[in-house]
Chain length 477, copies 2
């Protein structure tokens, strides 16, 4: 584990309250199946990028209850039986977990993590798993949207100071890199991500010198390899850019620059400033100087700036990425789908909140000719698809809407992570996860990736699963 | 420290990049003063509740750089000089920190933390302090707003699963309790807050039994002291409430209930359901049964439900509190206000972004007759106010707007936290912080606390500070 923090108590009390009942009622070992899934894509988008699995694995591998834990619980909760506290002291996760690898594209109602374990164990891990996966998936998805609109420009994550605490900044940075950011300013991520962090200087650096010119000279002197100068402390076009040009030209002439160089604009009209600054840099023969922009950026503003012809080479995004500002919570849930071999669903007056029952898996169906994703099919675990035969799928509500698919191949999306309590999965590197997401997005038609009114990707139920759901619904009343 | 996690690298790279320049340029020991402040109250509100200081103290007390840290930095950043890495290995915070105690009411532009330290040290701690204080202050403020609208009802924090990771849930829960929540569901907070966590059961508990009735019976049997039954798994008014009444009446008759009892409604029309459920409970003689509501609550919805006559006794708030959904980032900044004894300010085209220079303190002025806060005055450190004399204050922009205050007393808001690198402050208990906030809010007229269009509290500059600011502004161009 990255931190020595133990997460066994980073959960809701009701998991223990229920566990206490289960132990005394002799139910703790009934085998339960729970699914983690979302009901909507965040940000009004057409897809979601899953992240956080590596931390879930760390958590499950590390979960133990100490004597200190049970002593505290006993003191605060006299209703907890000794049998339950003993159970906790001997707790060991013995279940099975299947999940979608990080960087996978997911859609609403698809189990992204499936836990099959003794009821009490599956219940105790609920909240912690949700809080890890909801957070990182949210940020990875936001980052992916920003990357889309940056259209190949470099995007850097700069949001730690506005994150929900340092850990949200740390794992949020990881998720942002999974989503496609080239890097992050968070130094603490260097060990985790195995790549250097990024950054330049703040306004206070400039103010700490008597003049902007002196601050620039000193900065370039000690950063010949990455001389990016912040030009908006006093007056961007009147002072900052001319001072930067003076210092960069001199250093270039004297061999004092050995790598990247450029300017950063952090306030004001980024479109206008970047266009004017580009002209000034080019006129001075500094065509190689990059222009970095920061200042409350998100995918909408980046798209807008590009449409205005802004001359920006790379983007530092902070607050709106690290807090997922326009949709700061992902509503991932953890729902019981089977217990003791019996499929279960939650009825609700709101049809959107009715769950899919049973022990399920997911097929993604690709067109053979182009490798593009056509639809996903949620099926029961024992179902098979013969790829040589046409496949008929239908809308789970408007069932007359049928599609017959030929010339396709399928991929199962859930992979084994824990079997009998043992981790059987090796987490990929961050670069591998980035590549996986890239492949996933390449196989998704642009209509699902656009920012506004994306097309709705088809996630259908197999006939046996659909039948099971109808049967349970009709029995429920 | 609560966790063994070391935060020394939980910062932005540019702090080190600048530190590297300062060490080589011989500037690292110039004494700098930085202020942490906000530019706007979040949520369109009229005040902000400060939180996070205890974690800032932990961080400052614990900051050390290990050989492992410098080895990683050296590998990833060849521009870092050996002198700088040596500096880090011998790093020890030697500065002075003044701050407002947690639970204090603060307003825009007021220094809530003031750091005076060798430039490099003051710079290195910037990001981490901001990320702690921005987060906890945001959540404490959101909680305080919710508490206002709950008008004395109990409010519980239930949001961990939607928090930005487990740490945001943990410290967010702390901040929510500071803001006035009676408690939180997060078990991990029990040691920190020295109070039990709270909760009942989930829908899966009900589903794991063959019938709702059986689930209720088992729950009450093992929770005779806190028998709160979740009634919306199947059909709230047709099944859930009647089943709960049946089980609660039987248990009461048999002496199977020894403490609180009631129902929880987690979906649907909370106004209608609670009014109908109240009637059903009362008709059954269960006037003592409490009705707990949860389901995407925030201050707006609570106010609305109350105005509809909802019969709800306590409120479980989750997502919208723990993520501060409608304003998920607090824009607290960290700005240089003096270096080497020279006052500094940041000029900006945007007047709102111009900072206040110098080494400052804050007076809160109270009416002697009623103890109500009249205005705050930001002054320079060496200024004194003679409470026996009338005090003239004026608007910092519309300077002709003057007020002469008599019959007042003052309180200095910044208190010493670190002196010469040593912590001189003992953090109060959470209950003491809650009480401090209560006192602060009691001294604030309702006009500043209302949700919509609150009155703007006066934060003025003293004449010497105003003069200094004008002088620096006129010198800047």
């Amino acid at each position: 584990m990255q931190f020595d923090r133990k997460l066994q108590l980073a959960t809701d009390l009701y998991q223990f309250t229920m566990g206490n009942v289960y132990v005394q009622d002799g139910k703790q070992n009934e085998v339960a199946v729970f699914d983690v899934f979302i009901r909507n894509n965040p940000f009004g988008g057409g897809y979601t990028v899953v992240a956080g699995l590596e931390q879930v694995i760390d958590y499950i591998n590390g979960i133990r209850f100490t004597k200190e834990d049970t002593t505290l619980l006993k003191k605060n909760h006299p209703e907890f039986s000794q049998a339950f506290l003993d159970y906790l002291e001997n707790f060991k996760f013995e279940g099975e977990i299947y999940a979608m690898p990080e960087g996978s594209i997911i859609f609403p109602m698809e189990p992204i993590i499936r836990i099959k374990a003794p009821l009490i164990q599956a219940q105790i891990v609920e909240t912690t798993i949700l809080s890890i996966v909801n957070h990182q998936t949210l940020i990875a998805t936001k980052a992916s949207r920003i990357i889309e609109e940056a259209r190949g420009d470099m995007v850097m994550e700069f949001g730690l100071r506005r994150a929900h605490g340092t850990e949200a900044g740390y794992y949020g940075a990881r998720a942002a890199v999974i989503g496609g950011c080239a890097g992050t300013s968070v130094v603490e991520t260097e060990a985790m991500l195995d790549r250097p962090s990024m950054g330049t200087m703040s306004h206070s650096f400039i103010l700490s010198y008597d003049t902007e010119l002196e601050a620039f000279e000193k900065y370039v002197k000690y950063n010949p390899d990455n001389a990016t100068l912040l030009v908006d402390t006093y007056n961007t076009l009147e002072k900052g850019v001319p001072n930067a040009i003076k210092v960069l030209k001199k250093a270039l002439a004297e061999g004092g620059i050995t790598g990247h160089y450029g300017i950063r604009i952090d306030s004001g009209d980024l479109a206008y400033f970047s266009i004017e600054a580009r002209k000034m840099l080019d006129d001075a023969g500094l065509e190689e100087a990059a222009i970095v922009a920061s200042s409350d950026l998100d995918e909408h503003l980046i798209k807008d700036l590009k449409s205005q012809g802004a001359k920006i080479n790379s983007w530092g995004v902070g607050t709106k990425l690290i807090t997922a500002y326009d949709c700061p919570a992902l509503g991932g849930v953890y729902k019981l789908s089977a217990i003791s071999g019996k499929a279960k669903l939650k009825v609700s007056n709101d049809p959107e909140k009715i769950t899919n029952p049973g022990y399920k898996k997911i097929f993604r169906i690709y067109g053979k000719s182009n490798g593009m994703a056509l639809a996903d099919l949620i099926a029961l675990e024992d179902e098979k698809i013969n790829e040589q035969e046409p496949l008929t799928i239908f809308h789970p509500v408007y069932t007359w809407k049928k599609r017959i698919i030929t010339d396709y191949y399928i991929r199962e999306l859930l992979v084994p992570i824990f079997i009998d309590g043992k981790c059987v999965y090796q987490s990929p590197t961050i670069s591998e996860i980035q590549q996986h997401l890239k492949d996933e997005k390449d196989s998704l038609w642009p209509a699902f990736k656009r920012m506004v009114n994306p097309h709705v990707y088809h996630v259908d139920l197999s006939q046996p699963l659909w039948n099971l759901k109808q049967q349970l619904l009709s029995e429920a009343e």
